[in-house]
Symmetry: C2
Subunit: 247 residues, 2 copies
Amino acid sequence: MKNYKLTIQYVGEKFQGWQKQTSTDNTIQGKLESVLSLMAEEDVKVDGAGRTDAGVHAYGQVATVKLTNAKNPRDIKFYCNKYLPQEIAVVNVDEIYPRFHARLNKSVKVYQYRINNSGVRNVFENRFQCNLDEKLDTSKMKHAAETLMGTHDFTSFSSNKNSKKSNERTIYSIDIEKIDGEIILTFKGNGFLYNMVRIMVGTLIEIGLGQRSMKDIGRIFAAKKRSEAGFLAEAKGLSLVEVIYEE
Amino acid sequence: MKNYKLTIQYVGEKFQGWQKQTSTDNTIQGKLESVLSLMAEEDVKVDGAGRTDAGVHAYGQVATVKLTNAKNPRDIKFYCNKYLPQEIAVVNVDEIYPRFHARLNKSVKVYQYRINNSGVRNVFENRFQCNLDEKLDTSKMKHAAETLMGTHDFTSFSSNKNSKKSNERTIYSIDIEKIDGEIILTFKGNGFLYNMVRIMVGTLIEIGLGQRSMKDIGRIFAAKKRSEAGFLAEAKGLSLVEVIYEE
């Protein structure tokens, strides 16, 4: 039995998200498990670091897979890229120590959200951006982002209704850059709840448009109610950029 | 009657190329003419600088259109982007002197061809690259590219069988860069025949793979036969980057 760490890229557009579902196999996890099970001639389970939503992309998703029938990492990579749909690529495969698990090991996750605020759609990047014609005030957004950072109960920023687990997470940084009419928000944190990045982005957009005060964030945290936070920003603007492990 | 110069971007994937055809209106020119005719309430004709093939993209296609019912350039741009398919965008509209014609005025056209030679597909750029796993020798390609430059009869590098017009064209430069496993070929010339860039790329690829000698180019020019040149490289790797006019 050997354990492998895979780094995976995908364009999320056509898929029902990362996580395998009983009703459909049109998920990234499902596609990977099918291809790897065929290759290894055994039923394999692929564990991903981040369960990206339907329509969300990844530049650096990380997953682990254990194989009884050990294979050369190069052969695993070659086989995956040959048989996976063209919107998914395995860019790296390494053998790793047995206890390493992509989701359970502590990590810093980096998500990026791209907003085209130029007023003209970018036909080349349209699949990876949400479009917003009204101008955003990024200084207000940066100010509000500072109050989102740190360790908080993010219940108000999650679509998950009845979680019994802790909703406490730590956000290490939120960077907001404006480059040629595009606004890029980069979130680094130890974990993100269901829809959490997209709801934070929706809330920051409402602040950037002046529809909501910069001071709202404290009240939203305290309420612990999804309805207090902003709208759910479109999936296609979001990408899981990187997963950084401690060792 | 006023004359307008439009700068247009598109992802060619879904379209049957630039030029309007009687059998289909699924062309960039056809889409633009439909939208502009509706807006101006008259039949308009849009003339493009380069007649890009089916599947070829554009970052900076230029076109001219004459309108009897004059409009504000900003309104033309807004209307086009509102009603065009999302893979086409009008990024600039200027009023221009009446005799200016996107195709007939002298220009330098810049085309770019992108080859992913990294061995792993790039899921984000896959629509804009051809994939080639065997390593290319770019120094051989650069050497051969020098002999393609200058003024020549490019009959052997064209798919157009029975042209009675001159096939003489001038290529000012061919740059070949390698950036992180991607090879980018940039062609600047006063005009390109039907399929000419893609046949030059196919020929340079054969040279880069060692299937053909660097010295072949002279013989290909002299033969004036399409069959002497290399294969037709895939459309999706090609983009019309820029059209530069003399004044």
